[in-house]
């Protein structure tokens, strides 16, 4: 295996243009997979030295542009009353463990697209946009289109996730992220991200190969439970070492209601 650590995106694109080359962001998933023999890239392109992938910029409309190499720990420190940033910060605080949060990155987690991960769910609820770079320029893909399946995204060979555009959310909207897991830091059994204004935008993780979305859901108890029960019937959660598919279906409606109610009481 070869290792390169370019300082510019142009050099990174050049280094990626060979067979079997992979980007190394924080390494918290990729190196684990290499240690387990599940990944064996011929070349690793470390993104650590590329300044253009760092930093959080607040735009005039309250939305954020977040560099792909921003760590979970940095996102966890975001203080914002706006629904979108608040939702992302809540999720960042429960990604894995402190040591993983200190090194793991937003862009890495997005590109990896683990179906049980936290960010795909919150970025879907918040209607975020994934910014993708390549030698051909920059393209933007809605998070709701970007995540396509188990470890499958809209990313094509030679492209790099360079940043995330996170809308502030509707004025006066609030947000909550509810994660059901066996122990703190584990992947979710089921997770629910909710942005709640006059209606709720709700994304669900752990109940299929990619996040599920419920749009414009009413806020009454009955409306939430009914939407959750309808989704539980049609979704296709898998059985795994954490829980059975039928358990996931069973807890889903209650977790949806809990997320929306938690959002409504947040200041």
């Amino acid at each position: 295996m070869e290792f390169v650590a370019p300082t510019t995106l142009e050099d990174a694109y050049r280094a990626l243009a060979t067979e079997e080359a992979l980007c190394l962001a924080g390494g918290q998933s990729l190196v684990a997979m290499m240690n387990l023999g599940l990944a064996s890239p011929a070349r690793l392109v470390s993104l650590r030295r590329i300044e253009a992938l760092r930093g959080i910029a607040r735009q005039a409309d309250g939305s954020l542009h977040i560099g792909a190499m921003t760590t979970h720990a940095e996102l966890a420190e975001l203080e914002s009353s706006a629904a979108g940033p608040s939702l992302l910060a809540q999720a960042a605080r429960v990604v894995a463990y402190p040591a993983v949060r200190a090194q793991g990155t937003l862009g890495g987690a997005v590109a990896h697209a683990d179906p049980a991960a936290d960010y795909p769910v919150v970025l879907t609820a918040a209607a975020a946009t994934i910014e993708i770079g390549s030698p051909r320029g920059t393209r933007r893909v809605a998070a709701r289109e970007f995540f396509r399946g188990i470890f499958e995204t809209a990313l094509e060979k030679g492209e790099i996730v360079t940043g995330i555009h996170l809308p502030a959310g509707p004025p006066d909207a609030r947000a909550a992220y509810e994660k059901l897991s066996l122990v703190a830091g584990d992947f979710a059994i089921v997770s629910v991200a909710a942005i709640v204004g006059r209606t709720a935008e709700i994304a669900i993780g752990g109940c299929g190969p990619k996040p599920l979305l419920l749009s414009e859901v009413g806020l009454s108890d009955e409306a939430l439970l009914a939407a959750g029960k309808r989704l539980a019937v049609v979704c296709d959660p898998s059985d795994d070492q954490r829980a059975s598919g039928s358990y996931r279906r069973k807890v889903l409606p209650g977790l949806i209601r809990r997320a929306v109610q938690a959002a409504m009481v947040r200041s």
Binding site: M1, E2, L24, G27, L44, A99, V100
Partner: protein, 157 residues
């Protein structure tokens, strides 16, 4: 076969030249090349916390850190925690509370607690438990470890 790289890394304040495959983890190099065997290899995929070190003062799994990617960041291992003293206050607190059983997980716990106390001099029980959430103790001696940290938090000025 992984191509070998010549690298310079700084561990516990000392610069070392190492020759390692590009796929080598910091954990492997610490233990097999530098003889710093205080850092333990438990799961080797980031779950157990026994290999935790500091990179520029930030927590890191050395098993998930490629040595080639360390760069200019200063590595601190358990061997560098006490410095010139016999033991650091965190180590002393663990000893006094009987918070060490087989000891395999202890270096990781010491590093996790050292990072916590560097940021927060008087953490409460919840903060301590959160800070230790990424470290497994298979003797399940968590209660004593949390008590040790609470005692240290009370004792500190």
């Amino acid at each position: 076969m992984s191509r070998k790289l010549t690298l310079e890394i700084t561990v516990n304040g000392e610069a070392h030249d190492v020759l390692a495959p590009a796929s080598a983890t910091l954990l492997e190099v610490l233990r097999t090349q530098l003889g710093l065997t205080g850092t333990k290899c438990g799961c080797n995929h980031g779950v157990c916390g026994a290999c935790t070190v500091l990179l520029d003062g930030k927590l890191a799994r050395s098993c998930l850190t490629l040595v080639a990617n360390v760069g200019e960041r200063a590595v601190t291992t358990i061997e560098g925690i006490a410095g010139e003293q016999d033991f650091s206050p965190v180590q002393r607190a663990l000893i006094e509370s009987g918070a060490v059983q087989c000891g395999f997980c202890t270096p990781g716990f010491v590093i996790a607690l050292s990072a916590l106390f560097a940021k927060e001099p008087h953490p409460g029980r919840e903060a301590i438990r959160r800070a230790l959430s990424g470290n497994l103790c298979r003797c399940s001696g968590y209660v004593k470890i949390v008590e040790a940290a609470e005692r240290l938090a009370e004792r500190r000025p």
